[in-house]
């Protein structure tokens, strides 16, 4: 692995972001809107019923952490689409870049964006709702890391699908996180889901993250089972995603899609 190459690709992404106002919206506008809506919603619900104590911190932490997964996945996909949109694919794939370096650069920018989103939303949560996300302590880093990794795996798989199926797959970049949202139990506990969806939730790393988060907020403790489950599933899915990506990449080279994508 050549870190100069990773650095170059990260630099390219940062140049693109600094030129593009819509990218700034991704980091600031949408997450902030999410925070405002869910924050006020939870305050309103507290007024209607107090049967769920700590509703406000739970929903605010949930929306902040959900954005971590969403951003990590999204950025990995968009970093690839940037090269498609700017008809730069040949220059990239004809250069001495290992697939792992290309993907690694997507991961780095995904991490950077998710981190910025947490900082921005965290500060605003303090300002609007007097909630300090750092109350989650060291656990915040563990939850964050697991959501990043799940986002990376999804991003990698979807990028593989772009390579294999071309532009028709592009809508997945925006749809995929929402396909996983219901079974990720972001805003509600897993046990309110119908049994078959509970089974799906059990094998989704994010549901363990959010269950752990709620437990932590309501009791001050988190069962380590949640962490082990999330880490184990994440490792499994990351290796599946890498295998899928590799096979889609090879297939794209056989079919000439790498050279002809968006041509």
């Amino acid at each position: 692995m050549n870190f100069r190459v990773v650095k170059a690709l990260v630099l390219k992404y940062l140049y693109v972001c600094s030129r593009n106002t819509f990218r700034a919206l991704d980091v600031f506008f949408w997450p902030v809107m999410d925070l405002l809506i869910w924050g006020f919603m939870s305050i309103y619900m507290m007024r209607v019923t107090t049967s769920v104590p700590k509703m406000v911190p739970m929903l605010i932490s949930a929306i902040i952490l959900w954005n971590v997964l969403y951003r990590a996945q999204q950025v990995v996909c968009v970093a690839f689409l940037d090269d498609v949109w700017s008809r730069n694919m040949l220059n990239i794939w004809a250069a001495p870049i290992r697939p792992i370096e290309y993907v690694g650069a997507g991961y780095v920018v995904g991490f950077m964006q998710a981190f910025i989103v947490v900082v921005v939303m965290g500060i605003l949560a303090g300002f609007f709702y007097s909630y300090n996300i750092l109350e989650l302590g060291l656990h915040l880093a563990i939850l964050f890391a697991n959501l990043i990794i799940m986002g990376w795996s999804l991003g990698l798989t979807v990028t593989g699908l772009f390579l294999r199926f071309g532009p028709p797959a592009e809508a997945l970049a925006w749809a995929v996180p929402f396909i996983f949202q219901p079974i990720s139990a972001v805003f509600y506990p897993v046990d309110i889901l119908p049994p078959w969806m509970q089974t799906l939730a059990q094998i989704t790393p994010a549901s363990h993250v959010f269950e752990g988060m709620r437990e932590l907020i309501s009791t001050g403790h988190m069962n380590t089972f949640h962490i082990y489950a999330a880490v184990g599933l994440n490792l499994l899915y990351m290796s599946i995603a890498a295998t899928l990506f590799k096979s889609f990449y090879e297939e794209a080279r056989k079919r000439g899609f790498l050279a002809k994508y968006a041509a």
């Binding site: 050549n2 100069r4 190459v5 650095k7 170059a8 690709l9 630099l11 390219k12 140049y15 693109v16 030129r19 593009n20 940037d82 090269d83 700017s86 008809r87 730069n88 040949l90 220059n91 794939w93 004809a94 250069a95 001495p96 870049i97 290992r98 090879e250 080279r253 056989k254 079919r255 000439g256 790498l258 050279a259």
Partner: protein, 254 residues
Amino acid sequence: MSENETVVEIKNLSKEFKGKFAVKDLSFDVKKGEILGLLGANGAGKTTTIHMLLNLITPTSGSIRIFGKDFAQSRIEILSRMNFGSAYQFLPYNLKVIENLRVFAEIYSVDDAKERIAELLDLFELSHLKNNSTGMLSSGEQTRLNLCKALLNKPDLLLLDEPTASLDPDQADKVRKIILDLQRRSGMSVINTSHNMIDVHELCDRILFMQTGTVIAQGTATEIMDTYQSQSLEEVFIMIARQNSNSPNTISNN
């Protein structure tokens, strides 16, 4: 590297897309310092060949050796010593000219990047545009920028797919002179596809004429014109294209 060292060695190379051969049983060599021209009608398989040489397309059969190595073992090593330019490829439009070159200099691990970039911008007369957004360049300027990118790493093998397609005659002439100069001074080898017969005449030491994926004639421009008893390559081109199609008005694909 000795003068007659083989840089590219292609044996029985074929590529089949959905049961149709884009390239069929192609074999050729390129020596150090040689400029090889790939000629042929639209859809003859020139770009497919170039893409296989860049490891962008996996061949159906046959072998490719570049610098004596193959892609399965030495992809990164081979690609580090090569580069690629085409009038139909762009660098990211929302980056400044200089930013694009910085990014690619880093990707190719160019050590004296700053000097190298300045030198190339100067060579291709783009220095005054270095802080402009790439998307705002004219197509000829974008093509020259792409050539800057293609020469950043001082490649030993340069692949060009219609490099002068969008250049005015003056710029096309300058670009040819730059390439010839590099070939003479550094022994760079070049594989070049073009529909511009002046390019082919002035640049190429040897020409492969391709038709539906196979080579049907090869040699220097003069040798080929002699074989076809013709006064110009253009005439040969049209002769070959028409004698092999069913009707002179067949609409070619791609």
